[in-house]
């Protein structure tokens, strides 16, 4: 508990009931702050705009203050990665020791030895599969018209879907949105769009569930429908229950403008 008085303080009361002060004519009020919550979005950055340290000597002369923090943090990561390799080596050595022990521990360890071999084989396969996956993913990235435009400024958006001129014409400044769900499951829809999003040309590529075995939902379209934007979602009968989410993008720029989440409950009703 602290009290503050922005002028020379009167004497404090010394004992019970003692009130030696004269009342001031008017109490002081706080000013409203410019804001009362942090800025959380991606554009956030901090700086030392009015720091009392500004222009003052480093509080700790031993500190290396000339290095930008970004470099500092990158170095931390670099250290971390190098450390990772040290850890790896250590674990490899431990693995080798464990393998030696298994080999020396007699016939009863045969089952465990085969388990270790299986583990190593699977780890190797993991790398190979991951390599294939990365190959596919990066190929996808390379084919991305947006990425191409970043790499080659001025390049046309080849491969990008042409804008739906009919949709443009029909939608105009559409602000109403209708939702059509074709599903035998009980389904809840949560659509969140950034403020100012035009409804005339939106797209959702797919909705994914946390369970990697659940197939993504792909039958999702935004289309104009008599002056209203229509979000149509079709949920196949065998679709597993769960939470499916995906990103809504502007069909022309491919810029993300919101999220779409479907909660599919239970099994399909007959």
């Amino acid at each position: 508990m602290a009290t503050t008085i922005p002028e020379p303080a009167p004497h404090e009361p010394r004992g019970p009931g003692e009130t030696p002060h004269e009342a001031k004519p008017e109490r002081l009020r706080r000013e409203d702050p410019k804001r009362s919550s942090p800025i959380r979005n991606a554009t956030t950055y901090f700086r030392d705009s009015h720091s009392w340290d500004e222009g003052a000597p480093d509080p700790d002369p031993r500190g290396d203050t000339k290095v930008p923090l970004s470099e500092t943090l990158d170095d931390v990561i670099t250290h971390g990665v190098h450390l990772g390799y040290k850890v790896i080596e250590e674990h490899i050595l431990k693995g080798q020791r464990a393998a030696r022990q298994l080999r020396q521990s007699g016939p009863e360890a045969e089952a465990e030895r085969s388990e270790l071999d299986a583990f190593v084989d699977q780890a190797q396969r993991l790398y190979q599969d991951l390599g294939t996956l990365c190959f596919d993913a990066i190929e996808t990235l390379v084919r991305s018209p947006v990425l191409l435009r970043i790499i080659q400024p001025g390049a046309p958006l080849q491969g990008a879907d042409p804008p739906d001129t009919a949709r443009d014409a029909a939608a105009g400044s559409t602000t109403r949105l209708a939702i059509e769900i074709v599903s035998r499951h009980r389904t809840r829809v949560d659509l969140r769009l950034d403020a100012g999003t035009h409804l005339r040309a939106l797209r959702v590529h797919a909705l994914h569930a946390p369970d990697p075995n659940a197939p993504p939902l792909t039958a999702i379209t935004f289309r104009p429908d008599r002056g209203t934007a229509l979000l149509a979602v079709s949920v196949p009968d065998p679709q597993p229950a769960g939470l499916y989410s995906g990103v809504v993008v502007d069909a022309e720029s491919n810029e993300p403008v919101g999220t779409l989440t479907l909660l599919i409950a239970g099994s399909a009703e007959p």
């Binding site: 705009s49 170095d75 991951l130």
Partner: protein, 715 residues
């Protein structure tokens, strides 16, 4: 203290006169410590500062600089004397074959020191964090290759990689990223381990500049990667505990990467707060983390360090996902110098005594032995049109008067260091001898004895109020506020706290002799009732033991389960009963569990070697005394932190939106400060308390600038 420090900076030229009203005889609240017999340090619990506590370290460094202690006479003259880096973090987990497996990790030093001036670069972007997380993932995946030693210089297949595995691809331009991609494609390098590492590095690069790539592609890439990784990992058989732990961390890292993209956190104006309604484990589960990973020692350790158990119930872990993620990212990726910093002395000696001394020099007045009883609001019917409600008066119980009406001198000097004593100096108090004999406990919520009452009136005695009590005390001291204001009512209902228990033991043998072969460590996720242990042997040098001094010092702490019924306000024995419970927990812990950490501290499991405990009283053992037994534990230190002001604030899911900001101006002469407020980093810790204190200063004086409160504007 942070608010007082900010408001009395010399640059403000005495614009504010500050008076601190303090319960009992010492500053610090939950962070207070005291010196007991033989000058031993007695804490509320384990206090370790993390390397990302930028605000806390900055103010502390400024404080020490202003203090200007003479290193010739005071061993804690500089902040670097007071703190030292601790790079070892440990986790304990159940081993496959029974018992416990202990993980000791070394975190490499980060360049710079916490509190160093910062530049205009932003280290707090989620894309940047994701890139680093990808780098971690890369390292972890690499570590699964046990068939042959991976040589980062030449690669597992003997080919020389074009880029070193540690190279930061985030510095590459999109053109360069494309060239790397083409090279990988052309040579089919990704089928090899080296190629894969480079591909993962590209993932890191893509994630760091996530805004340059379409969100659906990012999501597709991350989810595809996750799905394949998990499919493979599920089939892996962890043949040893180390591999198992590594697989669990990979699983968690993948869940975080996928979750951040899937939930749109990179673009959400709420940042990580967008997922604060989710319990952290629930959110990770939603994003595919396995039950095995969610119950891993790594996750349990994070909960243990945050005392994140509702009502102190180990079966009810609770941590808001967004804040948990923010805390973890800050902890692992933005620390400077060291991930942990330990104090050489007690927190009271290292932190609050220097602040007290500096503030006294600046003219701040301290009124010890004042218990706040009521924050009285103005009569709403007397408010002028447009006038905001305000605090009209502050009502205190005066716990003791100082002899002669002078100022209480709270510090004692031990080995050249100004310290807080563990007990008040009764000699300075009127009727002090009687008070000592009565067993006055000035810090107990249940000991309401006082010698007088006093009331401070607005405009006469104060203009602004900074309410710095813990949220646990709010229902008791802000009854009118809670009754009248639904926001305050919601806050006390939802922002919950938890009691904690702590014990410290001084040992006559060094740790290595007890069987602990690792460096001094801070270890978590160990067995209840004391899941966290810190080797604090370094602090022995600051204590004042007769020869021969103890050889080791260990701190243990954990949550303490609340009773089903809240204790009655008149139940003066309640703290003692809980303290007895803590003692019994500690004795059982030493008998039954400590041998997992210190195998040679027991005769056999179940039989602790009680002769190891050092007695600070200096009493000689009686010749007719029997062999040392559990009674020896009476010479050690333990406590139950059950006072409302001592309880630790939780960051439960669905609760953080009920916190009130120090910037809130509903009552235009009142602001609040503490780690329980909405201060930007909403988790109980020193950094949150300092950020909140700085915000409170801003609320009154518009300084420091919000942009200078480091990490306040954080995703």
């Amino acid at each position: 203290m942070a608010t007082a420090f900010e408001l009395t900076r010399p640059e403000l030229r005495g614009q504010y006169r500050v008076t601190v009203y303090q319960l009992g005889w010492r500053l610090g609240g939950k962070g207070a410590s005291g010196r007991g017999p033989s000058g031993r340090i007695e804490e509320h619990g384990l206090h370790v500062w993390l390397g990302f506590y930028e605000n806390a370290f900055r103010l502390l460094r400024q404080c020490y600089r202003e203090l200007g202690r003479d290193p010739g006479t005071c061993p804690l003259a500089d902040w670097r004397d007071a703190f030292f880096p601790d790079a070892h973090v440990g986790m304990a987990g159940a081993a496959r074959n029974g018992g416990w497996v202990l993980w000791s990790s070394f975190f490499p030093p980060g360049k710079g020191l916490p509190g160093d001036p910062l530049t205009a670069h932003n280290p707090f972007a989620l894309g940047s964090y994701l890139g680093r997380t990808a780098a971690l993932l890369r390292s972890l995946v690499l570590s699964l290759n046990t068939r042959q030693k991976f040589d980062p210089e030449r690669g597992a297949d003997g080919s020389v990689p074009q880029t070193r595995p540690g190279e930061d691809h985030g510095r590459l331009s999109p053109d360069e990223v494309a060239r790397h991609i083409v090279r990988l494609l052309r040579h089919g390098l990704m089928a090899t381990a080296v190629g894969l590492i480079e591909a993962l590095a590209l993932l890191e690069s893509v994630l760091k500049s996530a805004g340059s790539y379409p969100r659906p592609l990012l999501l597709e890439f991350a989810e595809g990667l996750a799905a394949n990784l998990r499919r493979q990992l599920e089939n892996l058989v962890a043949t040893d505990d180390e591999t198992r732990c590594k697989l669990e961390i990979i699983d968690l890292v993948v869940a975080i990467i996928v979750g951040v993209i899937r939930f749109g956190l990179l673009w959400d104006p709420r940042g990580l707060d967008a997922i604060n309604d989710y319990e952290c484990r629930e959110w990770l589960r939603l994003n595919g983390a396995s039950e095995r990973s969610l119950n891993s020692s790594f996750v349990r350790g994070l909960y243990d360090l945050a005392l994140a158990y509702e009502d102190g119930d180990p079966d009810r872990p609770g941590l808001a996902a967004g804040q948990a993620l923010r805390g973890s990212l800050r902890m692992f990726f933005t620390y400077r110098g060291s991930i942990f910093w330990k104090m050489r002395g007690g927190m009271g000696d290292v932190v609050f005594a220097p602040f007290y001394e500096v503030l006294r020099r600046r003219g701040v007045q301290f009124r010890f032995f004042h218990r706040l009883e009521n924050v009285r609001l103005c009569d709403a019917s007397r408010l002028m049109p447009g006038e905001r409600p305000y605090v009209e008066a502050l009502e205190f119980d005066v716990q003791a008067h100082v002899q002669g009406g002078g100022e209480y001198q709270p510090l004692v000097t031990i080995k050249g260091v100004p310290c807080w004593p563990a007990q008040p100096d009764f000699e300075q108090l009127q009727d002090g001898t009687a008070m000592r004999e009565d067993g006055r406990d000035f810090e107990s919520h249940w000991d309401r004895r006082h010698v007088a009452k006093t009331t401070l009136q607005v405009a006469r005695d104060f203009d602004f109020v900074v309410l710095g009590v813990s949220v646990g005390a709010i229902p008791h001291v802000c009854r009118e506020l809670v009754a009248r204001d639904p926001r305050w009512r919601d806050m006390v209902a939802h922002v919950k706290t938890v009691a904690s228990q702590a014990c410290q033991i001084w040992l006559n043998e060094p740790m290595e002799q007890l069987g602990w072969d690792e460096p001094p460590i801070t270890l978590s996720s160990f067995v209840k009732p004391f899941d966290t242990w810190a080797d604090m042997s370094h602090a022995l040098a600051e204590e004042d033991w007769p020869e021969p001094p103890p050889q080791a010092l260990a701190y243990f702490c954990n949550v303490l389960r609340d009773p089903d019924e809240e204790p009655d306000g008149a139940d003066a024995e309640y703290p003692k009963r809980r303290a007895t419970e803590v003692k019994e927990n500690a004795v059982a812990f030493l008998n039954d569990a400590i041998h997992h950490l210190w195998p040679r501290a027991v005769h056999s499991p179940g039989r602790f070697r009680w002769e190891l405990l050092a007695d600070a009283s200096g009493a000689e053992a009686r010749p007719d005394a029997g062999p040392p037994d559990e009674a020896c534990f009476d010479t050690q230190y333990w406590r139950a932190n059950v006072n409302p002001t001592d309880r630790y604030v939780l960051a439960l899911p669905g609760s953080l939106q009920y916190r009130i900001s120090p910037l809130d101006n509903t009552y235009d002469n009142l602001t609040i400060a503490g780690d329980w407020t909405d201060c930007g980093f909403n988790e109980g810790c020193v950094e949150a308390a300092v950020m909140s204190g700085r915000l409170a200063a801003h609320a009154i004086a518009q300084t420091p600038a919000l942009e200078d409160i480091i990490g306040y504007d954080h995703p």
